[in-house]
């Protein structure tokens, strides 16, 4: 798409710019879901699940598998797109099982133990995915290709990517509505601000924790589910996602959804234009960004110290 590496004075045609912007939004949508889930869980429960990226991977793998099973070689019908939530639901179900069994016993103990147990979970899930689905990537690309592409100016852009961006946008709005406009959201916010007070007021904190954790896992799983037609499911995607989600959360602040949104957008844009102009340094630019933010505002742009 781009002819020469970025040099001052290079003028990109508008449609190429638009394509890059859409790619950035695509990336940001997925990142927002993952990082938002991580942030939500931390905001309510004050824990960081190191296996969060693996739930994203679980979402990707289970969706790809479901699609593959239903497809059986035939052409994808519209029904298959309804399978996309399979990944989100699987991840959420897994989260609902994990929270009471592995996390709840540790709330009263030192934080290191939470990190250690979620790290153990990370190791387990990494190999579990390999155990169930093997070492080779799983694909659902037929869903991706079936939507064809649109022309933007002189460029061509896959229509599926727009679906992802739309889903990301809807998720952001739905989440905002859930947190700020529903009773559940009020309870979530109350528990996150003052757990003891909420409990004294009659809130079933254990249940809220489980619900928040399940919701966070749902978001991660959804991210995996919607991106898998575009990039497939590979081993190791979980940890890569975790690190990127961390960069987002460092920029936006742990515990803040607005921060996750802003951070995801920034990371998406920087990464996309970074790759376009300087493919080699992509990862370094992101870490540099995170480092700069950490040095100036350790709690992130929206974080609470």
């Amino acid at each position: 798409m781009l002819d020469s590496p970025g040099v001052l004075g290079h003028v990109a045609p508008v449609d190429v710019l638009l394509v890059h912007l859409l790619n950035a939004l695509l990336y940001a949508s997925v990142l927002f879901l993952i990082a938002g889930g991580l942030s939500l869980i931390y905001g309510v429960m004050r824990i960081v699940n190191l296996a969060h990226g693996n739930l994203y991977a679980v979402g990707a793998y289970s969706t790809a598998w479901a699609v593959g099973r239903m497809l059986g070689g035939g052409q994808p019908s519209l029904m298959l797109y309804l399978l996309l939530p399979v990944g989100a639901v699987t991840a959420a179900a897994l989260g609902a099982i994990l929270e009471p069994t592995l996390l709840r016993p540790l709330y009263k103990r030192a934080e290191e133990y939470q990190l250690l147990i979620t790290f153990g979970l990370l190791l387990i899930l990494e190999d579990l995915l390999r155990f169930i689905w093997g070492p080779y990537p799983l694909s659902a690309s037929s869903l991706f290709e079936a939507l064809g592409s649109l022309s933007i100016g002189e460029s061509v852009y896959p229509a599926y990517n727009l679906v992802v961006i739309v889903v990301g946008g809807i998720a952001a709005v739905a989440l905002w509505a859930l947190i700020y406009k529903t009773k559940f959201g009020v309870i979530l916010r109350a528990t996150s601000q003052n757990m003891r007070m909420a409990s004294a007021l009659g809130v079933n904190v254990n249940r809220v924790y489980m619900e928040a954790f399940t919701l966070g896992c749902f978001m991660a799983g959804l991210a995996g589910a919607i991106i898998v037609p575009q990039q497939g499911a590979v081993l190791g995607m979980g940890v890569d996602a975790l690190i990127l989600a961390f960069v987002v959360v460092v920029i936006g602040g742990l515990g803040s959804l607005e921060g996750a949104l802003l951070g995801a957008l920034m990371v998406g844009i920087v990464r996309e234009f970074g790759i376009a102009f300087f493919p080699e340094v992509e990862l370094a630019v992101l870490y540099f960004m995170a480092a700069v933010v950490l040095l100036i505002r350790p709690a992130g742009l929206f974080g609470h110290a």
């Binding site: 190191l50 592995l102 540790l106 990190l115 790290f119 979970l121 990370l122 387990i124 950490l294």
Partner: protein, 327 residues
């Protein structure tokens, strides 16, 4: 965390029989077993360094593979670019390289604690791994770089067919001596005024500051020492392994270091040593049985946290205490 009853000083004299046993072992067991033990001692050095941060300063790092790997690659580069195969030069290079990286990464990481610290250490070590991967013409990529057997104290390495004997004998004793020196040094460090300051930081960061401890600076020093120990382990590891690949920079290797420290017990001094040695045997014998070694580690780690947070050494210590009280 419940305080584990500290071993009385007399128990430390039990370290002498252990050292004696370690010295005489090569005369009693097969050369292959001796090399296994050498690997175990190397992991023990890494674990000791790691635990200075975890057990004594309260910082859980998920990126110690970076320093181990720096030590290993420093050795490989010394061979590749300078054609030197002196173990002493290796040691110097490995310690300097891992120290430099630990100093830099530590500076970035110790301003934070807990979660941010943990993930930041993980991310930084992944950056190193991806560099080793990307710049394959320098690092040999996934094929890695070979390292021949080095000369020890100026005495040249033997012929190929004697390599196993060399490793099981002269190299083992070299490793053993360094291990004993490193372990003794670490023991002094954790019992020094500096070590007390670290423990104070672990127990209560704010109070430590208001007793006059410069928290950030001391964490950084602990990080540096910890990284150097990991680098020393990496340096000793490569000649034994003959080869270094990017795998040892990957976060999965950091996870192993975390695992065997917790396995041995991170609240005691001896725990990490036991964990490093035991883990090496576990890995050697179990890896052959299953591909899903990572899952086994994960399950054991989860069980350790839920059921036996004191690890092998800590649990043994508690049992001993109960036995003593009962008699």
């Amino acid at each position: 965390m419940n305080p584990i009853p500290a071993l009385p000083k007399r128990a430390l004299l039990s370290a002498i029989p252990i050292a004696v046993i370690l010295f005489f072992l090569p005369l009693l067991i097969a050369p292959y077993q001796v090399t296994l033990l050498a690997y175990g001692l190397i992991f023990a050095i890494a674990a000791l360094g790691f635990n200075l941060l975890l057990g004594y300063t309260g910082l859980l790092s998920f990126g110690h593979s970076a320093y181990f790997g720096m030590g290993a690659y420093a050795v490989a580069f010394i061979v590749k670019y300078f054609n030197i195969t002196s173990m002493e030069v290796f040691l110097l290079g490995g310690i300097l390289a891992s120290g430099a990286i630990a100093a830099l990464f530590g500076f970035l990481c110790v301003r934070y604690t807990r979660i941010y610290f943990g993930i930041l250490t993980l991310a930084l070590s992944q950056v190193l791994w991806s560099l080793a991967f990307k710049f394959y013409w320098v690092t040999g990529g996934t094929d890695g770089l070979r390292v021949p057997t080095p000369s020890l104290l100026g005495v040249a390495n033997p012929e190929r067919e004697e390599k196993m004997i060399f490793l099981a004998h002269r190299y083992y004793y070299y490793v053993l001596v360094i291990f004993l020196v490193a372990a003794s040094a670490m023991w002094v460090i954790v019992h020094s005024p500096f070590g007390k300051a670290l423990q104070a930081i672990r127990d209560n960061e704010t109070r430590a500051e208001f007793v006059g401890v410069q928290v950030w600076r001391y964490r950084w020093i602990a990080f540096l020492v910890s990284g150097i120990y990991a680098g020393l382990a990496g340096t000793l590891w490569v000649p034994l392994n003959g080869l270094t690949t990017p795998d040892i920079l990957h976060w999965t290797f950091s996870g192993k270091i975390v695992f065997f420290t917790v396995l041995g017990g991170f609240q005691t001094f001896m725990g990490p040593i036991i964990g490093g040695v035991v883990y090496n045997y576990l890995e050697t014998y179990a890896v052959g049985h299953t591909v899903y070694w990572q899952m086994v580690l994960g399950v054991v780690l989860v069980l350790l946290v839920l059921v036996l947070p004191a690890g092998i050494a800590g649990t043994a210590g508690r049992l001993l205490l109960r036995l003593r009280r009962a008699t």
